[in-house]
Subunit: 139 residues, 6 copies
């Protein structure tokens, strides 16, 4: 990449592996692996690594939002998948689908998840088409 | 509404109350109320009621998809809300937010739900911008 | 609006009525009314009128795309509504719903339109969730 | 698939061919083929077949919504495509594009369809940006 | 709000004014006002304030992402508006439209912004409909 | 393509190269290349070329909207990318990403662009979930 000039698309998008990463990036990778109890880091983080401040910022966000809380870990992934399917994000559907399965999602739960996402997208469209007025009891 | 002619917007969209509904519609309302253990029916159903076959079809879908299963009732509503927020459907956000609260969603859970929906919409956008390739381990 | 400075939101968004419009804008209004056989112009055009080149450009687009062709006028409005509902655009749903009714859309057709839009949004979501591979026969 | 455990992604997404399908699934396939006058079933149905109740439910929905009615079959497919393009659903665009062609869509009609979908997405965005107020005449 | 129970919708969504805010929230409000050189805080922050950790997290994100950088402040707001219009988010369109005007957006720039957003939504739809293949020169 | 009959998907979507183009299409290609100071035309135009009136219409739109104005050329591409990423349009992200780089977008600017697009999609979702009311000061 030339100084202050254009960036080649491929260069800015190839994953940076642990072996090739500077110390500040390795530190984030290590925290991801320790937190998630894995021995590898996925492409989302390895591509964000091209800009370490963004890698740090997004990991801090994910750690806080997806960490232990009032919702159990599997439920959090199901919510994440619902958004990702609605946005048709192939990467996130694959990534969070895998996370959901690792957190115990069964085939039956998966089926129900997909059915709910579909039904919700349908009734959202109905609501728009029919210009539904919000019921007083819901306010 | 004139035969074979135009339909006035407002006529086709005003909720049909139980008192004004024909027997076939009342039958569906009664099943909704019995299933949901409520004494009223919301605007979504009361507007679909203008076309009884659609009312029946959508209630059959909702009853099957949102009924007891491998996912608990609250989780099903959280998934529904995740889709509805992503689609910015005001009616469905209000309707399913109320349903979630009725099924026990606490303030803390609500906060986490909103945070996850926001984060997922953000990372979905990152994934598109960065043209992330799906990791082999996710296939 | 001050020269080269900020624009107040409301000023740039209030409809410009025929009576208050400069000749170049009136010319477009007249073509709209002549083409659509109406005696009034809706808010979309009257707000675009703040920038006459954009008003001209968009009317030229609409005239060409929505004019007589291989699809009949009502079908063109139904397609327009399908997009507008999917995008939950309240203004366009109202505007094109009225246009569809003026072009003969019956209550039954309206019901079927809404049902198809809902079903399509549902199966689009299923397709994303299930990562459906395109059948050879469709290529 | 192990009892109560994780489901492998690929297993739950491979199409189930007629030859490998249990009787209850074959029954639905046969009704699809008889209704659509074809000798094959596409991947959407063959993947849903992993959960026969969902296959039955969605075929019942499609049969009712896309069956004969006040809108002709081609118009129904054009509406379906308008939604699918707006949602950028590659599978559905391919599937319903093929269906539209089978129902008589000409090259000229296809061109007009694409042009309308594009224009509607554009004006929907304008309406949001300009916060257009719905005209009284549209209510 | 009752312990472990439901949260009333309105309670969790009313803005918390500075006067009524606990010290940890006031600290964030003060940093927002100091950074943005304003004497008030908008509803987005005042509603997030119901959960101080989220208020802190989102302000940290906004401060880093929207702060001084390689893109000038007005350009950052124009990008923000492009996303918000595409998602038809009324609140964000109003909020960031005001921010853009405060940062010097002229009426002419506003017109061009809206035109580009519209055109991009149109060609995005064309690209999906036509299943455009990415040119080699773009990879 | 047979007269009045179906159009094969692939035929209507293969790019028409300059060498194979009729004079009216070549004229548009030449104007594109002259305006953009390039010696080639991308797939978007070469596929639209199947319908010369649409090719002309869309080039006229793009020439007017993306031409010199109150916003500099790079800013216009950044706005275009913000929309395209939000719509997850792979073709347009690649095409306009290349255009942005050609107009001087640096790696740092690219990083900031992606961060803003992500943050905006997140806060748009928050705004919908929280049903934020527009502040008086924004009207």
């Amino acid at each position: 990449m030339s100084a202050g000039g254009a960036v080649r698309a491929s260069a800015a998008r190839s994953p940076i592996e642990y072996e090739d990463a500077p110390p500040e990036v390795r530190a984030v990778y290590e925290d991801i692996m320790a937190t998630r109890k894995t021995d590898w880091v996925n492409n989302y983080w390895k591509v964000l690594a091209h800009h370490p401040p963004t890698l740090r910022r997004m990991w801090a966000n994910a750690k806080e939002v997806m960490g232990p809380g009032a919702l159990d870990p599997l439920t959090k992934e199901l919510i994440y998948m619902a958004v990702s399917v609605t946005n048709a994000c192939r990467y996130c559907i694959a990534s969070h689908g895998a996370a959901a399965r690792n957190k115990g999602m069964t085939a039956e739960q998966y089926t129900e998840l997909v059915a709910i996402i579909g039904l919700a997208n349908e009734t959202n469209a109905h609501a728009a088409a029919l210009d539904l007025q919000i019921d007083e009891k819901f306010r």
